[in-house]
């Protein structure tokens, strides 16, 4: 077909669609290529979409978009085998506009978002795999697709092809990711009556709740489980570093089943009906694993460039911001008639100066640190549970004696010193 567009965006997820939307709105001729039957059909997310970055693209989107519930409460469970210490924040400021975040089901949300890009004038082509970038004299000039006569040309190609990031790898922007740079997440969507969800999670009307579950939920492997409320379903999932799963030789769906049957979790999902089972990778290498993101005639956005803040479960928002910033750089490049790496580099500069770059830098050593020292999960969470049980169980033992017992349980002086050192180290990688 040898067609030429101003820009080709590969992948209609949050990053690619945000980019295509912004470009189309600016009057740029953009082709958005999606390999799935429809946008979202290959995509999985725990379910939390932060409002701000999407709102910057389409103000008030949540009035129209298929969002599930605005989250008013975020709980954090530190799980042991038969107990949990739980923290929570619930605030009514999150129950009203402008809202903080929403649960979403990606197959629905991504379709809607891509439709908005189409309404702005982007051309969306589904069911098409981009097999490689067409490179001439070191410059990307188009893409090869798996359609007959499937070469398409453009001034700039935006790689938004997700966590596997095969295209950036083929350009030499990064090596194959290692098992300690990705987390494998498995999830189920469980159907449950709206009213039961609201009663069970202490919610009024459309409000939602998220629960992050640490500790026993991943059997000590670095990762988390989660339980999120949708309108009339729950998302329950567990994600753990692929390296950790391999080392522990745990089947991911058996881990998910362990979480579902855990006595602290079981009552939440009682009486639900399974609707879907999903698996996906999460890029968790962070700042240190980011590939080169700008080349001649090409930029990389979203998961394809490892833009996930695992500590704060942020990813789709970063993806959107990167898509918008890439689009803005491309518009400037178009005005200058120069699509070189030097010209497009303003994308990288702006991105790294934004919250995306700042937060990725802030937590650059966090994942690696917690992966390397698993006792934060293996030892300290059970210790926390034991201490809570001791202090709150009334059995005639004076409280001072209980405190002594807890202090003793921690171990000898060496162990105490080690905990102090660990806490300091954790503070250093998180601060």
């Amino acid at each position: 077909m040898a067609e030429k567009f101003d820009v080709i965006v590969v992948g209609a997820g949050p990053a690619g669609t945000a980019c295509a939307y912004t470009l189309a709105k600016a009057g740029v001729d953009v082709l958005l290529i999606e390999r799935g039957e429809y946008p979202g059909s290959k995509n999985v997310m725990g379910g939390v979409l932060y409002r701000k970055m999407m709102d910057d693209i389409i103000p008030g989107f949540y009035k129209e978009a298929p969002v599930e519930r605005p989250i008013v409460e975020q709980r954090f469970m530190m799980l042991d085998a038969e107990s949990a210490v739980t923290f929570s924040y619930k605030g009514m400021e999150w129950a009203q506009e402008p809202y903080n975040n929403f649960t979403v089901l990606r197959a629905k949300f991504d379709q809607w978002f891509a439709d908005q890009a189409v309404k702005q004038g982007a051309l969306l082509i589904n069911e098409t795999v981009v097999t490689e970038c067409i490179v001439e004299n070191g410059k990307v000039i188009g893409v090869r697709t798996d359609r007959p006569d499937g070469d398409v040309y453009a001034d700039v190609v935006v790689l938004a092809d997700g966590v596997n990031s095969l295209l950036a790898k083929s350009l030499g922007f990064h090596k194959e990711f290692r098992p300690d740079e990705v987390a494998l997440a498995v999830m189920e969507v469980l159907k449950l009556d709206k009213k039961i969800i609201e009663d069970r999670f202490n919610l009024e009307g459309d409000q939602g709740c998220t629960i992050e579950i640490f500790g026993d939920s991943t059997k000590g492997i670095l990762g988390t489980a989660w339980l999120y409320t949708n309108k009339d379903s729950l998302n329950i999932g567990v994600g753990a570093m692929l390296s950790g799963l391999i080392k522990a030789k745990i089947k991911p769906y058996e881990l998910l089943e362990y979480v579902k049957q855990h006595p602290m979790i079981r009552p939440y999902i009682q009486g639900t009906e399974q609707q879907e089972y999903l698996a996906h990778l999460i890029p968790e290498g962070g700042y240190n694993s980011m590939p080169r993101i700008v080349g001649d005639g090409v930029v990389v956005v979203g998961d394809a460039a490892q833009m996930v803040n695992a500590i704060h479960r942020e990813g789709s928002n970063m993806a959107m911001t990167s898509g918008v910033m890439a689009a803005e750089a491309i518009v400037r490049a178009k005005e200058a008639g120069d699509f070189s790496r030097t010209m497009l580099d303003s994308y990288r500069v702006n991105l790294m100066n934004s919250f995306v770059g700042e937060d990725l830098k802030k937590y650059k050593d966090a994942t690696h640190h917690f992966e390397k020292y698993p006792h934060y999960f293996e030892k300290y969470i059970p210790l926390m549970n034991k201490a809570a049980s001791q202090m709150f169980t009334v059995d005639g033992t004076p409280k001072r004696e209980k405190q002594k017992k807890i202090w003793k349980d921690i171990g000898g002086a060496g162990d105490k010193f080690k905990i102090a050192r660990d806490l300091l180290a954790a503070w250093k990688v998180m601060k």
Binding site: L105, R106, D146, V186, N235, E257, A279
Partner: protein, 98 residues
């Protein structure tokens, strides 16, 4: 496994999903000898979230039709012994929700 609750097995989980299988596999074990001689645990048969890989005495059976296209096997194979591509456009897994 008779005491397992309903929906606990991978077969039941996989049954919930819509697939449009391509006629040919997008996953290829490059050298079965490596699985046989170097990989006693056949790690992909453990960590693949869809149990796509099943070891059958002397060969690796690849049930590509049930693949979630997550990429774990490509990254996780300790011998980089799996050639991994996307299925033909419009084929493979089709998530309806998550």
């Amino acid at each position: 496994m008779s005491n397992q609750p309903k929906g606990a097995t991978i077969e039941e989980k996989q049954y919930l999903i819509r697939f449009k299988a391509n006629t040919e596999s997008h996953l290829h074990v490059l050298d079965t000898d490596i699985c046989m001689t170097k990989c006693p645990d056949k790690l992909c048969t453990i960590f693949c979230p869809a149990e796509v890989y099943k070891w059958e005495e002397i060969r690796m059976h690849v049930g590509y039709e049930g693949c979630h296209e997550c990429g774990s096997c490509r990254i996780g194979c300790p011998y980089q012994n799996i050639k991994w591509e996307y299925p033909k456009g419009g084929h493979g897994i089709i998530f309806r929700l998550g």
